[in-house]
């Protein structure tokens, strides 16, 4: 109990603490009172209204669950569906875990500091819910597990805390879709995520954000990867969002552990993104890769990346490419920090436009100028992500495809 009291105390002291990056949000303007929603059984999930279903599908949620091994679905503050079909995989609401399972305390706030800023503090003091997904030792998820965090009530501040544990030698694939009800005007999403990749485990986490023009988003996530573990973190955000700031961090503590971050972002008019990835390479032989593809269509995108090499023999690369299509700003900030003799880190960053030569080449094969542009943009956004199951590759392609038309 003393631990819990101490967490609360630290959170209380941080309620006024502004984040290091991103515009400050006045959380007082948003409601946090619980919003009840009806629980949906499997069949009811398939029968959500068409407009809502469309929003869900765009965020990578398969309401039929046919291609998913399990589902966690939270609407506003309430869990509306939670179930798993695969042996060796557990999916449960974090509030249930906190009440029932002692072991969750080994993970809760162990990687993200509760007093990092006012958002982490809010998630402790007014936790709504969140998911715990765990693959047991040696288990492997044949189909990805899906999680959806949905904002339905206008003016709500949704506080979520997720814990993901891939036990030794297990393989776990998760797709998380975050989206809003059609027509939602304003809201805040605060999402804490803590990832634990144990020895020789493989975890892929694909997050598709599909927010709305008046939504403010502050994810806070930290991962830890043990010996021989692999963590693949994909992030896709093709839709407008008023302000999104996050700097997910991974600690490669084990020998030969690997982390790969892939980020695909389109900045639309009125949107401000400040995002990046940070990898601490601490284990001998650990490797890190951060790849981002950013398009600005009139939005403002800051693309950060930070590699910290702490021991000899690590290798890491950071690649940031930006295309300014219809105005806006892309600000790439790649950072390399070597702290030992024998680290190998590199980066490449480029911000530019589509080469006319490439458009002409495709036109000489019969495409119109618009078709050629769109093929090049799609190619620019499609990064080859190793170790991703085909269903997830499909979802990423779909998200890119769907936004393609609006972009031109």
């Amino acid at each position: 109990m003393r631990d819990e009291d101490e967490l609360r105390e630290r959170a209380r002291k941080a309620t006024g603490k502004k984040a290091a990056l991103g515009p400050d949000i006045d959380l007082g303007e948003y409601e946090t009172a619980p919003v009840p929603h009806q629980y949906l059984a499997d069949q009811e999930l398939c029968m959500v209204p068409q407009a809502e279903r469309q929003r869900l599908e765009m965020a990578g949620v398969d309401v039929t669950q046919q291609t998913r091994g399990g589902t966690y679905f939270q609407k506003d503050t309430t869990v509306v569906h939670c179930g798993v079909k695969q042996e060796g995989i557990e999916v449960l609401p974090i509030r249930v875990a906190l009440e029932r399972d002692e072991w969750i305390r080994d993970y809760y706030w162990k990687l993200v500091a509760v007093d990092a800023d006012k958002y982490t503090a809010a998630a402790e003091l007014q936790l709504h819910d969140g998911y715990v997904i765990r693959s047991l030792p040696g288990a492997s998820s044949m189909y990805p597990i899906q999680a959806c965090l949905y904002l339905d009530k206008d003016g709500l501040q949704q506080n979520v805390h997720n814990i993901i544990v891939a036990e030794e030698d297990s393989e776990l694939h998760i797709i998380t879709g975050c989206t809003t009800a059609p027509g939602l005007k304003r809201g805040v999403h605060v999402g804490i995520s803590e990832f634990f990749v144990k020895r020789n485990a493989r975890l892929s986490f694909t997050m598709i954000h599909n927010w709305a023009e008046g939504v403010l988003v502050r994810p806070r996530s930290v991962a830890q990867v043990e010996e021989g573990g692999l963590f693949v973190n994909n992030y896709i955000c093709m839709k407008p969002v008023r302000s999104l700031q996050m700097y997910p961090t991974t600690h490669l503590v084990g020998e030969d552990s690997v982390a790969r971050f892939y980020t695909i972002v389109v900045g639309s008019p009125g949107s401000a993104h400040d995002l990046g990835g940070r990898i601490y390479l601490k284990g001998p032989g650990s490797r890190g890769e951060i790849v981002s593809r950013v398009i600005s269509n009139g939005g403002n995108v800051i693309a950060r990346g930070h590699l910290i090499g702490e021991v000899a023999g690590i290798r890491a690369h950071l690649e940031c490419r930006g295309l300014i299509l219809n105005g806006g700003v892309i600000h790439a900030i790649p950072e390399l920090e070597g702290r030992a003799v024998g680290v190998e880190m590199s980066h490449e960053a480029a911000v530019g436009k589509i080469a006319q030569e490439e458009i002409n080449y495709l036109m000489s094969r019969g495409l119109s100028e618009d078709e050629a542009t769109s093929a090049i943009v799609r190619g620019f956004l499609s990064v080859d992500i190793e170790g991703l199951p085909p269903q997830l590759k499909l979802e990423i392609d779909r998200a890119i495809e769907a936004s393609d038309k609006e972009m031109m």
């Binding site: 080469a355 030569e357 495709l362 000489s364 094969r365 019969g366 620019f380 499609s382």
Partner: protein, 256 residues
Amino acid sequence: MLLIEDLQVNIGGRAILKHIDLEIKPGETHVLFGPNGSGKTSLIMAIMGYPQYEVVAGRIVFKGVDITHSPINERAKMGIGMSYQRPPTVHGVKTRQMVHICAGGRPDVDPEELASRLNFASFLDRDINAGFSGGEIKRSELLQLLAQRPDLVLFDEPESGVDLENIALVGEAIAVLLEKEREPGNARAMSQVKRERSKMGLIITHTGFILDYVPADKGYVLYDGVLSCSGNPAEILNWISECGYEECAKCAMKTS
């Protein structure tokens, strides 16, 4: 038919092509020789419609339509295609996708089958031209053209950089594109084959090696932007190697 009349082309204000006249009839293949920098690539880029090759006088007529100012894709749609000397890399666009684009929705185009003909199947899932070697670029370009099936094919040094084993594949692919493949054991009269043939070709070559695979009807020397010495391609090649380009360009022999 391709008809070029008194074509003058500038790049950045500098005259690159001067008073070019050229006519390629259906079924004919012509060959273009000329020293480095003489304007050969510029000529076919102008025919393809690249805007930086600014047409300041004259006209280009294809299949009876004046295309002098048509955009590139319209020319492609009308049946003009080219094999590039130095095509750009397009990141994220796979070779396989390029084959589909070239096929323009025609269902009978099988990328695997076409690629295997050019010993190129293992490249289908690579980004187009990314890190391709000189010889690989040539095969990639021909693969795309096999899917596109243009009526007028412009080849920019299709055999340069291709190794001895692949040269036969390249030669055969070009012959297929121009409907000049040898028909084994077919006793049809040559004149009949010629009448059925409608594809046109314009091939830039320094060595003439490609002529071993594709018979050509006519050759020219382009020298300092001026087209001269039209005649039998093999003879022209001989003259060039004996007397050099300059002498060859001086002999303004017109044989037609």
